[in-house]
Assembly symmetry: C2
Homo-oligomer: 246 residues x 2
């Protein structure tokens, strides 16, 4: 439970010192163990992780650039409130998904997906290359038997690839930059058991509909199919008490 730092021991040499202390601190802050207003100092970081001042400082700088802390003279390194975190930073997302706030994080990211992916599908229908269109159809058709057989893991892999491909093929870098996020959401959802035992048939149909619409450059259809697919996704998530009801 206590984090012993594997210093110099054979296996885990690779990751630079920064990485381990950054991850530890990042996790502790995002998970609330180090709550807002808590003050650290470089000295305590040095001592706690047994690293040099340089490493402590560079780590602090990284945390600061992610909005997790602020460093001020004479006072130290203060943990900042949630509102100032850089929530699009991949590492921040990762930390939050790994911590206790995972569920709510998954929900806000899903809402983001609902916003972005339909437009990305429409854009992909306009801009995708021939190979990408073909691959999409291939993926969607391959998903059906896996889904019907309830083989969730390989199904999930294809699902991730399909959604990532749509985002990348959209031609908008802001959309494309969300591939990792979407992948994390999709993976996290199954790992967390938020998925039904096997995908509902509509989901299979809709994946196919999206792929075909993109392949045929029917951008309006692609957008609508993706929208339906995602509202399906939202409804399938375990409720948090929201009536929903579109």
């Amino acid at each position: 439970m206590n984090s012993e730092h594997n210093r110099g021991n054979g296996t885990g040499n690779g990751e630079s010192k920064h990485h381990s202390v950054l991850d530890t601190l990042g996790l502790e802050i995002t998970s609330g163990v180090l709550e807002e207003g808590r003050v650290l100092t470089l000295d305590t970081i040095q001592e706690r992780f047994d690293v040099s001042r340089t490493v402590a400082r560079e780590t602090m700088r990284l945390l600061e650039s992610k909005g997790l802390v602020v460093s001020r003279r004479r006072v130290g390194i203060t943990v900042r409130p949630t509102a100032s975190w850089q929530v699009y930073d991949p590492r921040v997302i990762w930390w939050r998904l790994a911590g206790p706030g995972r569920d709510s994080q998954l929900r806000s990211l899903t809402e983001l997906r609902i916003a972005v992916e339909p437009l990305a599908a429409a854009a992909a229908a306009r801009h995708a290359g021939a190979a990408e269109r073909a691959r999409l159809v291939e993926l969607a058709t391959a998903m059906r038997p896996l889904g019907e057989a309830g083989r969730l893991d390989p199904f999930n892999d294809l699902d991730v690839e399909l959604h990532s491909l749509v985002l990348r093929a959209s031609g908008n870098e802001m959309f494309a930059a969300l591939t990792d996020v979407v992948a994390a959401v999709l993976r996290g959802r199954t790992q967390l058991g938020l998925m039904p035992d096997r995908p509902v048939p509509e989901a299979l149909d809709l994946h196919e509909a999206v792929a075909l619409a993109v392949a045929d450059a029917r951008h309006q259809d692609a957008e609508e199919a993706m929208r339906l697919l995602l509202s399906e996704v939202r409804d399938a998530m375990v409720p948090l008490g929201a009536p929903g009801g579109r």
Copy 2:
């Protein structure tokens, strides 16, 4: 050699050394002056900016965490391709908006707005507090006379506040985190002369419609009005390559 620190420079004392070198390097990379594959070393950075190794290193770490460079032993600090940049990092966005790619950046961000803001409006219609609803209506009604008079700057200020408020009131932190981006887009658009001399009447109507729908908790209407408003925005953008300069 002898370090006469130019520390006493009158005006710009505040910003730490990092800031200036980080901004310079960040701008040069995002603008393409330092193209992909270009290799820097800590020594050259030290020399060029007359800073210590510590500052050079910490700056490099920041650039690395933004995906702009990668640092490897024996080889140096290599500029990474556009695809690996953290395009949601506020500073990266800022650099790109300040550089020659401003126009295309503005376009991809606008597409992101089109995706996100309608959903944010719908969410705001559900979750906003009473004060927020009132403020929205207030803003929208105040915008009309300014718009009709062609007073673009104050109009723009209210516009920024309205859109920011919607995003914040949505209750989704991923949406809320885009306020700065949206503000930058709105401001950049007028500064760049991409706006018509005075807002079209439909825009004024739609702002009001959004505000009223949110205030009345009509989430479907709010979403639709925001969608119309943004498609208006997209259509109003001067097509690629148009001369700016108002």
